[in-house]
Structure formats: structure tokens, C-alpha cells
Symmetry: C2
């Protein structure tokens, strides 16, 4: 859900068949974004500089400035790259199981060391570019998660007109609230409990939407 | 819940009977903290300086440095002062009503103009002192809100061993998640819907704790 590190795509055609994906440009991007993640993990936002990123990536400073502009541009590209993956939400066979597995992924990401995901969220309060990119990433992740609700509807676990987004927010918000805002120590029971709470409420019709007129 | 502006206490003894509450010192604190709120509302964290606060408060710069140290110290004192009030959670006669009224207070605070509460939360990602003070304030507010759950238990709306804190987090987290992290536009229905979701889950036993051994 909050994966910050781009993962390789699983379905690429063999190298000779595919177009060169940018060649040197793509290689530089990978080096620079890896350096941003490493610097962010070691020093946090306050220690992140264009110079340190360029030096660690082994790329000319002028190239980094020209292509990314400033630290906010670097962070935004890290976040955009994180969304450019093949991540799919867990598929465990039940609504509560899917939500619990999702919440465990979120808790793991938010408590990982070095705290890359937490640092990116914190950076979104400092940089407008990072803010927009973080919101794009969350929007993308929540959109991908809607399939969890679709499957539960098809299994008959939920009424057909269930507001998927609201259900997903209810299930995941306690994790973010405790770990990002209240900054309480991670509670190992919370992922399962928040999932159970949302699933119970959903079964009781908490996220049911009125049937659209003309829908049968 | 998130009131950032200290309110006068309602139950002070008449002036001649009470000790002087600091006199000039208390007056300077009020002037300085008011200036912090005004500067924060106008300029945000990035524009907040000791100099601007001292000038706006009409207080010597040296006094502000000596007493508050730095911008983090000023923000921490604003947050501590915000917690030093007589705020009590809403008492509407039902669990869902109390949670909905609480959520409306939170949504109003998080969307107020100037965005003081939002700026203080953002500042807690920048300053360790503000971070600690923000956490103290939240802890205090959630502790005060536990009476909502106690009243619901006494009314027979909830099982006796209900985890009050977890219920309160579940009810309020969607507001913070949407407005502070996802930064979606305020949804006028969300306060009521999040309250209803938490109340439904609570009635279904989602926050029931095992009965302690020996408890009757």
C-alpha cells in the first residue's frame, strides 16, 4: 500500500524485443532515486541536499538540478516511481482477511527501518511537489484496493452498493492515525482489529450506498 | 478536541481571592502565544521567526529567546496552553450522537481559516518539541473523551468491557486521515458517517475486551 521502493515489473518482454526504456537516462534516474532513498533513510528531509544526492549517485550535479530542479522534485519523482509498479492488494479469500493483510503491509511500511515511508510522508508537509506526489500515490493505492471490496460483494459478503473507498479508509485510517500522527508505538494487534472493525461495520451496512435510480 | 486557542477557565475565584497568576509574566506569555498563533496563521511554519513573534507581541526579543529558546519552544507552549482549558466532549445522550458531534468539532478545527490547527500538526513534523507537545495534547483530549464511552456503557449501549481508546480512534481516525494526510476536500457527511460506523462496530462487539480474571 505504501511501498516506496519501485519494484521491477513482472511481465516485461525479453530485452531484445522491448524498446530501450530510455537507456542512459533511465539508468541515471534509477541511480539518483536510489540515492534519494538512501540519503532520506540516513539523514531525513533536513539532511537531504541536491549535492549529497548527486555525489552518492555518481551523477553530475548540473544534471540533477536540470532534471529535478530541487529536493521537492526529487521526492516527487521517488513517489511517482513508487507508484509505477505492479503492486496488487492481498487476496486471501475473505474481506476481513484482505483488510488485515493490507493493514499488516501498511504497519510494516510505516515502521520499517530506515523509515523511508514515514520520511516521505513527513516530507509531504514540507514540499508542495512531494505533497502532490504523495497524494497521487495514495489515490492510486486506494484505487487499486477497491478490488478487495468488489470481490467481497461478488462473494456475497457485502451489499452490492457498498462505498469501497469509505470502507477502505475506515479500515486503514487507524493505522495511519496511530503511527503517523499520534506516533504511538506500533500495536501488533491493531492491523487485525482495525480490519475486523471495518468488516463488522461493513456487514452491518455502514458503507451501503443508496441504490442509484434506474439500477436493477 | 483539537482546540488550539486557550479558552478562559470558567470557575476561577474572584480576583481578590486568588493568587496573582504570574502577573506580568503571565501577561507576556499571553501576548507572545497570541502572536505565535497570528504569525502561524498568516505565514505558516516557514515564516515563523522569533523576531516576528517578539515584534508582534511587543515584547523584547531577548525575553522571547530566554523563555522559549526557539520556534519549537514557542509552538510547544502554544500546544500546552491549548490543553490547559476546560474542554469537555459533547454530551448528546447517545454514543453515535456524541461521536458525531466530536467529529464535527474535529472537522471544523481542521478546516478552520486561518488553518492554525493544521499548521500546528504540520509543525509537529518539523520540531521535536512541537511533536512532543502535540502528542501530549492528543493524549489529553482522547483521555477526556473516554467519558463518552463510559456514559454509553452506563446507558447499556455498549458492553461493560469496551476498549474506549480504540473505539475513539476508530471513530475519529477517518477525519484526520482524509483531512491531514490524504488532504481531500472536506466531506460534510464524513463526521456523521465515521461516527455511525464506529457505533455500529461497537454495538457488534468490535471493541469488547476480555473480562479481566476475578472481575464480576
Amino acid at each position: 500500500m505504501t511501498s516506496a521502493v519501485p519494484e521491477p515489473e513482472g511481465t516485461r518482454p525479453p530485452a531484445p524485443l522491448r524498446r530501450r526504456p530510455g537507456g542512459r537516462t533511465a539508468r541515471i534516474r534509477t541511480q539518483v532515486l536510489d540515492a534519494v532513498l538512501a540519503e532520506l533513510g540516513e539523514r531525513g528531509y533536513d539532511g537531504l541536499t541536491m549535492e549529497a544526492v548527486a555525489a552518492r549517485a555518481g551523477v553530475h550535479r548540473a544534471t540533477v538540478y536540470r532534471r529535478w530542479g530541487d529536493v521537492g522534485g526529487l521526492l516527487a519523482d521517488v513517489l511517482d516511481a513508487a507508484g509505477d509498479d505492479a503492486w496488487q492488494p492481498p487476496d486471501t479469500g475473505s474481506l476481513q482477511g484482505d483488510l488485515a493483510a493490507l493493514n499488516h503491509e501498511i504497519q510494516d511500511a510505516l515502521t520499517a527501518q530506515p523509515p523511508i515511508v514515514a520520511a516521505l510522508i513527513a516530507a509531504s508537509f514540507r514540499s508542495e511537489k512531494a505533497d502532490h506526489a504523495q497524494r497521487r500515490l495514495w489515490e492510486d493505492r486506494y484505487a487499486r484496493c477497491e478490488i478487495i471490496v468488489g470481490r467481497a460483494v461478488r462473494r456475497g459478503e457485502l451489499p452490492p452498493h457498498t462505498d469501497a473507498r469509505r470502507l477502505l479508509i475506515a479500515a486503514t485510517a487507524p493505522l495511519y492515525h496511530q503511527l503517523v500522527l499520534l506516533r504511538t508505538p506500533p500495536d501488533p494487534d491493531l492491523p487485525d482489529q482495525a480490519a475486523r472493525t471495518a468488516a463488522l461495520a461493513a456487514s452491518a451496512g455502514a458503507f451501503a450506498q443508496p441504490t442509484p435510480v434506474g439500477d436493477t
